[in-house]
Symmetry: C2
Subunit: 498 residues, 2 copies
């Protein structure tokens, strides 16, 4: 796609589904970018989410309204009908899916006793400009506002969480258990399941130094997966601890302040050539031996082997063993595997780190998190033990699609109300309101329309009943009711309507 | 407050409640800006929303964890603990209020058969830079992204709605009934109930030219007010039609393309001196007589008088009469009053306009909307009849506070689970998960804590029951249960836990 702000698709007016379940729908259109051209199952294709075009004119301009005078044309400004590159609209079908997913996030969070919080999408840039060489810093949507403040669209939620916790100080009791579902922004190359904005579900525990906290977080995610129908044969967690690297660095007397930087470099190991990794590690001052040992340890895939290499006295091994034991007891050990190559890309992690992955290896990480016991002090406050995870809304939808687990979500209205005569429209509005007062969701037909149209509309909104306001019935204080699934018809007194 | 990006409140660590219900809590703190210093009832003051500080140390750093080496201090970057000026954090107590309010928005929208949608917070700047002299244009949070696109944080939702409707084209059937609850941004001077970001609930009907649509929209808002406990003695709607002004302009042969501009100028009538209004109107080319007549008509406060002035043949009078008649029939006419001075500040309105206001006259408009039948053609598409409203999340909270209608919303956990012995923590985690699988929300105590602490915590999270995992019970496959409201205590088998 061209990098100009307005692409060539001005006002194409074709049914273009720029959607939450992007790949499926995009594959229907000619505006397909190759990176989205994956071969997905298409079982949602013919659902009501993409209703057939109807025959009504979309230009129901009102006769006698202000006529568009020639001079108005001067103000016409052809707009790009697409959202900015890398962003999404949420038309109704996609919004239903988003709500469905977010409700699962919320349900699980509350099941675990977490409270919901949120922060501004726009934060001070300083909150995110750590000096560890993280990718995230170069991808900031940042600018200067009209008051000359450097601000940024948040690329992640954890720094805001830390900011709020510091602000609250002693007014909140520890441990804090908070969750957020917030939109985050990164200006980056777009690939499958990755856009420039995404929503991220975060759960964080502040004030608990022990591994019980990490176990609780992973348990929450497992519960989410299970609720979505995903099993341990679909998804697993790779788990390690940054203390593994820390212990290696300690052996070589590498200064503590290099720790974040080293982790950020090592995290890139699957993206850039290993020689480049080595070069970068040497460049920050690590010895050849330290670099060699660091890269060696990354290949360790079992706790037993790790223990052989590091000895059993260190925290890394002890904590990892405790976490696996807890997982066993709670009942999700089948989901976990130790993998020393897991480091995570954020500079601030200090202990256990983990990453959810699809076992088929088709997708990017589904979620990731870990312990960050020193983030608070980098912001100038006292440190508080803390851990948390981020879980995006994009990769999980890809996975659910792959597994055929996306739900059919339709608009569902209780009753559609229609006047049979233009003169009765006020009466129909009255009827609609009587029903709404009784808690029924009502689609009121707002114009004079042929019955055929009304039935079509009723089907589209999946109405259970159709209430018709006709003249002769109205005279008798009655309306006609049709149960749409059975075609059963009857009359009912206005007072008895429900 | 100083206009520097970092105010003087670095890391103050006092309990500072930067909250959704800003004024109440701010009045508790010394960081009070005079414009927020209103005299509010304070019935929420001592709710659980501001828990008393507990005695735990907030710095539960883990012994033996990476020690903050001196070199780390070099990376310390004292951050401002406050969100950027004009923005909000949503700590748990404010998030509960936000969810409560948004759930009302959603509930009403669904009751009326509307589908939820959303658009990107970041849109192309071109979507908002109309040339009618609107305030909104000068208040854009806009910038150039890393791909040299001019983008803006959306100041309102309607242009995005129009963009999406145009994009969807014939693939959606009319009428479209959509609602959104979206965050909007305006860089402006902050006054009571106005920040630089707010959430706005929008409902729009696309494709219905008749006044039934406006009646449906106002009916929705009335339903919301009623559900919140607000009556017609608290709130009313001022209603007019832009066609009133249009008919005056037509008399003086003012070109159609000036219409939006004229409306935008007239809308400022309560903010700037009338002589300045006159000057601006003359400057766009209106005659002295036209200006005089326009300003005269604004003072009309009854439909009867309007009809006397404009005659009964025009659309303005006919449509307004029909709307009032509909309101009568549906049962909310007590909420409405005609007021020709209502124009609304957005350039694109073309017909009926309305504004919700508090009858005590203390607050800004609570909501506002109207018909915008020509917005689509200004974007280069065919026109579609359309109307909608925006309803912010700030003024309504002020009003609810004034009226003592804000709910008490507390965290509510079903069960708190605690091990009586550090060795039993894994068992407690297991018990928590058994209960969660049965749908109970469970706060698991993640550390070894004295019972006194546990009871305090249980009270804070409003737990109904406390489940204690003790050694002797565990040996027998049992746990202890305490019902916290009655202090009733019993033992229960693990298998019978629920």
């Amino acid at each position: 796609m061209p990098a100009t702000p307005f692409s060539s698709s001005f006002l194409t007016l074709q049914p273009r589904f720029n959607t939450y379940v992007n790949p499926i729908f995009r594959s229907l259109t000619f505006q397909l970018s190759s990176s989205f051209n994956a071969n997905f199952s298409s079982h949602r294709l013919h659902s009501s989410l993409s209703p057939a075009p109807e025959t009504d004119s979309p230009t129901a301009g009102r006769s006698g309204a202000l006529t568009p005078a020639p001079a108005v044309a001067a103000d016409v400004q052809k707009i790009d009908v697409n959202p900015p590159k890398g962003t999404r609209d949420f038309p109704p079908e996609d919004m239903r899916l988003r709500n469905w997913l977010f409700n699962h996030f919320k349900g699980v969070s509350r099941l675990y006793g977490f409270e919901e919080v949120d922060y501004p999408v726009l934060e001070s840039e300083a909150l995110f400009t750590r000096k560890a060489g993280e990718e995230i810093k170069d991808q900031l949507y940042c600018f200067e506002d009209r008051g000359n403040r450097r601000v940024a669209l948040r690329p992640e939620l954890t720094p805001s969480l830390a900011r709020l916790v510091i602000q609250k100080g002693k007014s909140v009791s520890l441990p804090i258990k908070w969750f957020t579902i917030g939109q985050c922004w990164r200006y980056e190359r777009m690939t499958r399941g990755r856009r420039r904005e995404h929503y991220q579900w975060n759960m964080d525990i502040i004030g608990v130094p022990g591994v019980m906290a990490e176990a609780e977080l992973i348990s929450s995610i497992v519960t989410l997966f299970r609720r979505l129908g995903i099993t341990e044969s679909d998804v697993g967690f790779k788990v390690s601890s940054r203390k593994v690297l820390q212990e290696v660095l300690n052996c070589y007397s590498v200064p503590e302040n290099l720790f974040g930087k080293v982790c950020v470099i090592i995290d890139k190991i699957e993206k850039i050539p290993v020689d480049e990794i080595k070069r970068e590690l040497r460049a920050v001052g690590l010895s050849q031996d330290a670099v060699h040992e660091l890269l060696q340890i990354l290949s360790v895939k079992s706790l037993t082997e790790l223990e052989e290499r590091l000895g059993s006295g260190g925290e890394a091994v002890a904590e990892l063993k405790q976490l696996f034991s807890l997982a066993e007891k709670i009942g999700y050990s089948n989901w976990l595997q130790f993998d020393a190559s897991i480091v995570r890309g954020l500079a601030y992690y200090t202990g256990i780190v983990f990453e959810g992955f699809d076992r088929e290896g088709k997708l990017r990480a589904i979620c990731g998190g870990g312990r960050y016991d020193h983030l608070f002090s980098t912001f100038g406050a006292d440190d508080i033990a803390a851990c948390g995870f981020g879980f995006g809304d994009a990769v999980i939808v890809e996975l659910l699609k792959e597994k055929g687990l996306l739900p059919e979500l339709n608009l569902q209205i209780d009753i559609i109300v229609c006047a049979l005569d233009e003169d009765l429209q006020e009466c129909a509005a009255m009827v609609a309101n009587i029903l709404r007062e009784k808690g029924q969701s009502v689609e009121l037909v707002l114009e004079s329309k042929p019955l055929k149209w009304v039935f079509k509309r009723a089907a589209r909104v999946n109405a259970e009943r159709l209430v018709l306001v006709g003249n002769s019935e109205w005279q008798r204080g009655m309306v006609g009711v049709k149960v749409l699934s059975t075609a059963e018809q009857y009359e009912v007194k206005l007072d008895d309507l429900k």
